[in-house]
Symmetry: C2
Subunit: 371 residues, 2 copies
Amino acid sequence: MPHSKWIMSAKTAKDHLAGPLFLCVLSNTDTCRIPNISAAGATTELNDYTPAADAEIVVYGSPRSAPEMPMKKGGAPTPAVMTRAALQLTGMPYFFINAGLRIVPDVPTIDLCADPGRDIRQGDAVSHPDVIYASACQIGSQFGKLSDSIIIGESIPGGTTTALGVLTALGYEYGVSSSFSENPLEIKRDVVRQGIDASGITVSEARDDPMRAIASVGDPMMPAVAGMVAGLADVVASADAGSDMGSGTGSHDCDIILAGGTQMVAVFAIMKHLGLDMDRISIATTKYVYQDRSIDFKAVIRDLGCRIHVVDPGFADSRLPGLRKYEAGEVKEGVGAGGVMYAAGMSGVDQRTMLGTVEAVYEELMREDGV
Amino acid sequence: MPHSKWIMSAKTAKDHLAGPLFLCVLSNTDTCRIPNISAAGATTELNDYTPAADAEIVVYGSPRSAPEMPMKKGGAPTPAVMTRAALQLTGMPYFFINAGLRIVPDVPTIDLCADPGRDIRQGDAVSHPDVIYASACQIGSQFGKLSDSIIIGESIPGGTTTALGVLTALGYEYGVSSSFSENPLEIKRDVVRQGIDASGITVSEARDDPMRAIASVGDPMMPAVAGMVAGLADVVASADAGSDMGSGTGSHDCDIILAGGTQMVAVFAIMKHLGLDMDRISIATTKYVYQDRSIDFKAVIRDLGCRIHVVDPGFADSRLPGLRKYEAGEVKEGVGAGGVMYAAGMSGVDQRTMLGTVEAVYEELMREDGV
């Protein structure tokens, strides 16, 4: 034995944190199988593959598990092309979270062991959201020790309808956005109404117990994101208190950016009613969501006190027709695209470089598709 | 829209890294079902539960999924008590990796989608180790952007036998350690000989293609650890080169500590023959493994050029008989215990504090067990 001491050599421990980290929650809800409700897949039948395909496009540049691209033929590309481009430009670390997937991607995921969400029309959409929340909290508390700025995105087809479900249950009438340029809001409202009626939940019950709103008319992405945020906040809160498993890292600030449109507004509202400290939490999204007149962002900012960062990826000037379709309202946002582009901009990437990189990623994807 | 610029506000990006991070790979191999080969469970039948129970003990202080404690009645406790104590004292972030589990813990894991390993006597132990390696590499490359010091541990019952398998296949005769105080080395050597004969692999074939040695007589933990290390190294190598998805984080040093005994010696040998840069990779383990005369550490250091950090948790002075059994050679090491205790020591925790915390964790665990 080369030494008799407890530890054989000494080295100065470093005690500082990395830059932004991107976490992307992948989920399914059977709500997306309701005809004409989501454009987040080539067809309604293929919507289940979209989160897995999005993750594969972010990591590899093209899908591996899915039989088709996660987008309409001839339509605007999945927002995963923006996410991949922004991650390439920043070198930002990223992880995918499996929070109720039907199709697991060919990419490692952090598995919360959640079931996919059910069709919200029955009013019994998510099993044990509190268990998903607790698992996500455990993961969030670890990531909070590693980074001072966390961006959380999502990919869940049908997610704007479940967002409308929870916002309605909580008594907010902001409307929601859509991956269609023509938002099928009437269909969504009808679906939500059926779900709320079936569950019997009232606004005051939902506000007292947001987990019940999720269980009734939400989706499994929601407790996953809320739980991770609670875990991140927990690290901050416990850093000086020396609590169990949370001590020793020293106090630090952690900015949390919810990357997405209406779905993240719903998660923000859930967390507010859960009583979480919302001071360091903001939303980042694309201008395509922000300019969507289906949702009243002024009311969101006024009611919820939510700061919103808006990103214009400059697709109006793109040489590629598919990207220009975003300007006409197709797809709009997803896979954390707005949030990671915001972080890219914050780190000094300009709009022209961002656009050029998105175009290159999109062309690479189209070549893989044989177009 | 509150602004017309690409990004609405500016903030200085931070570009430094967190302190040590602990990654623990959890796997099963059917090799542990061979009678009298492993003490890493209450009984041979219950060995499959051990990695899940270990993870639950680290996170919660007691097992949740397993029907029994992952240890012999009246025997030394699982090394998970040391791991939990060291993580409590340091607040170090940690994640568990599922690399072929039969029983998934009640703790979120990063899922590499690997199958459990088969009994090595048939010479066909691991399916597609290259795929496990590639998935692990993807995860390693992300963690490498977050921390400058990564400690990798394992929990896989039967793992010293598969370690002997791969070391033998690679032509090294160091012997291996054991979780029994009386090491059943003859049984292990016989099992390994059957596996090598069944696979037909030669030493030169194994050295040319260590993945084939894993596929024949290894286990799924091995390509998971090797792949994560390759991914971590990849970040370091590509940080200045601006390669795809790895650029932008700036160059940094990443120390990698393989936390364990003989099993990590086997992984070290595999990585050396894979041609990885081994400069910043060392092994940390407990003195109970280091002092085990079943393994020739002098030869390991001489042949492989491997630096070994040795930790004495001071159990000789414990008031608890279960911990003193480590001094008699029971259990010895596992769940990254040596590595996280080494990191705790490096961060200024003294031996007396370490021992007191391990005792408290062990007593908490025994209370849960109703003892």
